[in-house]
């Protein structure tokens, strides 16, 4: 399940809803990304249509690689202040290894394939964030 939204999400609610009632689940893993305090605020822009398409493809690829009971990807857009949550990815499976690995895969692929862009609002003005080589390297390990 994927969701793109302006409003915040509740980590407990989202975690509880993951594979709710599925007694085959033995473990679930959740990653939450937040705005670091070094940035006063940022605005997340995205490409409506392509974003949904890419996130659905990322979920499908994770389900193809691991036996997952449920997947959740939530990404916020619009203006976010320091400390606010940006993204949640989560995976549930019968065993922990698939849940851990799928969760790391989901965020690594999201960072280099989903069309979101961060514009940081700094004292000196607005700055579009540069892509990081380390994110590209993190994606390559899943080839």
């Amino acid at each position: 399940m994927i969701r793109i939204q302006r409003e915040d999400f509740d980590v407990g609610t989202e975690t509880a809803a993951l594979a709710e009632g599925d007694t085959g689940v033995g473990g679930l893993c959740v990653f939450v990304g937040t705005v670091r305090g070094e940035v006063p605020a940022m605005t997340l822009e995205h490409y409506p249509g392509m974003t949904e398409r890419q996130l659905e493809a990322i979920e499908a690829e994770a389900r193809r690689r691991w036996p997952l009971s449920d997947v959740r990807i939530i990404h916020r857009i619009g203006r976010l202040e320091a400390g606010e949550r940006i993204v949640l990815v989560a995976a549930a499976s019968a065993h922990r290894e698939a849940a851990f690995r799928a969760t790391e895969f989901l965020i690594d692929w999201l960072k280099t394939k989903a069309p979101f862009w961060k514009c940081e609002h700094k004292a000196g003005g607005d700055v579009w964030v540069d892509a990081r080589d380390s994110d590209e390297q993190a994606t390559l390990k899943w080839r």
Binding site: E45, Y47, G49, V87, P115, K118, C119, V129, A131
Partner: protein, 83 residues
């Protein structure tokens, strides 16, 4: 053809989209970027460093040699920075 721009590519060009008839000799993403770069000083500045501009055709990531046709939705943007 409709072309969409995002993030600093949009800021440099000064608009988020434009629609035009695709010139007959433009057949790939790379040729389209080259043709767009000649349309104005703002376009030239957005496409000045081709390695910094990524593309999508019909909402899928596309390399510079990917074919384009009239009727496609093509987008140009910087490397993505979500998550």
């Amino acid at each position: 053809m409709t072309v969409l721009y995002f993030a600093w590519v949009k800021d440099k060009i000064g608009k988020s989209s434009e629609t035009f008839a695709l010139p007959g000799d433009v057949t790939t993403v790379g040729e389209l970027a080259g043709w767009l770069a000649q349309q104005s000083a703002a376009h030239a500045s957005a496409f000045a460093e081709p390695r910094l501009v990524r593309a999508a055709v019909n909402q899928d990531h596309a390399d510079s040699d990917h074919p384009v046709a009239d009727g496609d939705e093509v987008a140009f943007f910087p490397p993505v920075t979500g998550g």
